[in-house]
Symmetry: C2
Amino acid sequence: MRAIFAFSIMIITKESLEHFTTQVFEKMGCSIEHAIVAASVLLKADLRGIDSHGVARLSGYVRLWEKKRINTIPQFKIEHETFTTTTLNADRALGLVSAPYGMELAIEKAKIYGCGFTSIINSNHFGIAAYHAMKALPHDMIGIAMTNASPLVAPTHSTQRMLGTNPMCYVFPAKKFQPVVVDMATSAAANGKLEIAQRSGKTIPKGWVQTKEGGETVDANALKNGGSLLPLGSSVTNGSHKGYALSSVVDIFCGVLGGANYGIWVPPFVAFLEPLTNLPGQGLGHFVGAIRVDAFRPANEFTANMDQWIESFKNAERGNPEQPIIIPGEPEYNEEQIRSKEGIPLHESVVLDLMQVAEKFGLHFNA
Amino acid sequence: MRAIFAFSIMIITKESLEHFTTQVFEKMGCSIEHAIVAASVLLKADLRGIDSHGVARLSGYVRLWEKKRINTIPQFKIEHETFTTTTLNADRALGLVSAPYGMELAIEKAKIYGCGFTSIINSNHFGIAAYHAMKALPHDMIGIAMTNASPLVAPTHSTQRMLGTNPMCYVFPAKKFQPVVVDMATSAAANGKLEIAQRSGKTIPKGWVQTKEGGETVDANALKNGGSLLPLGSSVTNGSHKGYALSSVVDIFCGVLGGANYGIWVPPFVAFLEPLTNLPGQGLGHFVGAIRVDAFRPANEFTANMDQWIESFKNAERGNPEQPIIIPGEPEYNEEQIRSKEGIPLHESVVLDLMQVAEKFGLHFNA
């Protein structure tokens, strides 16, 4: 008997992983300020247990940079501005850098006018949306972040990949409890979940993916074989048109509103796929925003009511006495507490990947 | 053989139904201006084919008014205001009246500052969200409308009704095509679909409702029998935590932000259920907003790209050659064209209901 799918996990401290990642971004040409921000976005994903969006993607960013699709010395340019809005041309920057900057612009406008929004165009993938939206929290603001992404999801009734997993993120400050953090792909399942099933040779539940012909499947490789991800809702009867509509909302806010690409034209994250020609916009797009809570009523009244909201949901009747009701953002917060202390577990394939990155830049990676 | 479920449909013109509905609101004490607005919101639902939210609900509003839970001569009061935000106390008005007014405030602020948002508290059910959001379209603005509602939906892992079907609505202007109108309950299925299944004695698909104990069911009466609606996503494996999270976002924006009720405390629409005591807020809440497209880039560039967006989705590969890809809002627009000309079909139970309303107020209802 042999363990076909055996693999090992290595634990690495937050500090050493962050230090290494910062060095890589510096080697790519980023300023030290940009390298620190970019690394902290990836690390936030690893700390919060969103392994698919953390350092596992570092080599992907390197390859895009090698293809000159990422500019590590961008000149950000404000293309349009009002009291509350900014259209920011990111000059092909890392989204890891342009999105936090766009969020800061939004927060500054919100301080004065009540709310602020930034449409970021000509950008690249921005990591986890929650990192950007959560920048609003220390200011007692509601944070919003969305991005469009490489097309993998088919609209209801279609077999064509037209939309990304297009996440929506909304965060709300509370008082004694942790903030409510909603950060979700608008597809039924994210690509990362498929990859886990592929690695372990398992099938996937019905409703995640359809075959190339639009048929039902439980094959974890169906996406690789020309299929497409299904929108949240999974089937016509269970409301997949709603997931399709939500993903469309994200695509329009992120792509159409400011002048980035949208739909099939969103440039792929993987460097081996070339962007389409005749693009209608520039790069991919993000939409971030901040809304001051006390633009509506005193912040301490709001956060006190948020506490009551959270408490009432925690105390909702359970279907299974052993299974607590989860508040959005709570599992990620708990994971962050653990991993900050105990270190971040990396799959050996990620470790190998990072070692290759280290070698490329003459760096040391100590796993 | 007898046709157990036979019923008849009566067709009534838009004009005569609108006239009658306006008269009813006047008889309830509304000013003529308020009566016209309230009737036009209900009619818009009937025209667009959202029969569950049109005049079928008129007697429900009457009963709430009889219970003194709706105030037809409200004094709207601005509780808080910034450049871009308003918290509007609706004084227990019909949401059919307070929401359009709140949207107008948001549009006026957006004209000057780029965007505007109104939190409406102490209100009642507002009909279809799209009516309010679509007021932004003639101004080349993106419109947003949400409301919380009587609790019917259980969070993932819970068996308790904690959230309403809490719709999210986003509308985007286009140029040669009709606007994209996303108006969706954040539950897997709306209550109206259950009622249709109940009337025809049919089962419902798995994933719409769970039993009182949290079990799967296809029984259209399961909700009536103590069960709860499931969030969009339907099951843990297919992402019901995302539908739960979206519904929470709506509840927080509509309830917590301005000081309305939220969660289990949202007052029920049906007059035979009393609101809970010790309410944390006032009435139910809406959140509406407008964002000027040209606060980001020239509106005609945006609408031209919207046209391309729409066209590319219309032309996406079909799973079935006979089944076109649907653009959000398209079926409702098409229905509105037909019903505006040919009249509105009313189920006989609705006709009987309206005849009783007519009798109560000494009016004439000609079906």
